[in-house]
């Protein structure tokens, strides 16, 4: 019997404002057959420098989606007054 663990980015959701919702899956296999899959999540907003340190394909998606226009629009939205 062989148990193995693999960690992958199995889902990246791109929201309308350019935000990336990242899901990382840890997959446990037994003799090559998946037995469990657990998730860990985080979010990267337009302009977040941490995205470039994330596992692939997050940096590539961030670079493609986050144009200066997208980043500026997000920052302007964040700057609006909130209660």
């Amino acid at each position: 019997m062989t148990l193995a663990s693999t960690t992958i980015i199995d889902k990246v959701e791109t929201l309308q404002d350019g935000t990336l919702q990242v899901r990382q899956a840890e997959i446990i296999t037994k003799d090559g057959v998946e037995v469990t899959r657990t998730f860990n999540r985080w979010v990267r907003h337009p302009g977040d420098t941490e995205a470039q340190s994330d596992p692939a394909p997050v940096p590539a998606i961030a670079s493609a989606v986050w144009t200066q226009e997208v980043i500026s629009a997000y920052q302007a939205q964040q700057a609006q007054a909130k209660p």
Binding site: L15, Q16, D17, T19, Q21, R23, T38, F39, N40, R41, W42, V43, H45, Y74, Q77, Q78, K82, P83
Partner: protein, 177 residues
């Protein structure tokens, strides 16, 4: 199109193929396999009077998330245990962790929520803490942060007030989808 079950046609799947109930993997009258929908937008439609897009249950997921300090003080939390459950667009997050000893007077801000909080959407929940404060946790809008505020008066709790204290909170908020 989502799966549709009716008394005439049996079960209809996204590719529009109509199958009889007998074609499903049934064991002892119970489904013995998983129902997997073709794309993330498919789901179970509840036939009430509202629009189908608002009556479709299309997501369920559980996992973990990592609370991080977003106050600008570069604090490192310890003993983190943080989980989430997402049902449809409703996200329930739970977290337990401990603040380091700090003299930072900045407002306490926690980042790392597993799904971004939409614009103009606020949610709050009680804060259980060993610090001498009576406060609630509240999400910020259009990001993945939350902060701690007094129950009345809308005064933000500072890092100093939480120095060395544990915090526990549970918030339910709506994701974008």
């Amino acid at each position: 199109m989502s799966m549709v079950i009716d008394g005439t046609n049996g079960v209809t799947f996204p590719n529009t193929t109509v199958q009889t109930v007998a074609a499903l993997p049934l064991t002892g009258g119970q489904l013995s396999g998983n129902l997997t929908f073709a794309t993330g937008t498919n789901g179970i439609i509840f036939n009430n009077s509202s629009a189908a897009i608002n009556s479709t249950l299309n997501d369920y997921e559980t996992g973990t998330w990592t609370p991080t300090d977003q106050s600008g003080a570069s604090l490192t939390f310890s003993g983190i245990a943080a989980n989430y459950v997402k049902i449809g667009k409703v996200v329930c997050v739970q977290a337990f962790f401990t603040y380091p000893s700090t003299a930072s007077g900045s407002a306490a801000v926690i980042g790392g929520l597993p799904f971004t909080n939409p614009t103009s959407n606020y949610a709050s929940g009680p804060l259980d803490t060993s610090a001498a404060v009576v406060a609630m946790a509240r999400t910020q809008t259009s990001n993945t942060n939350l902060d701690f505020r007094t129950l009345s008066g809308n005064t933000q709790i500072t890092n100093t007030q939480l120095s060395g204290a544990y915090v526990i909170f549970n918030i339910t908020y709506n994701a974008t989808f």
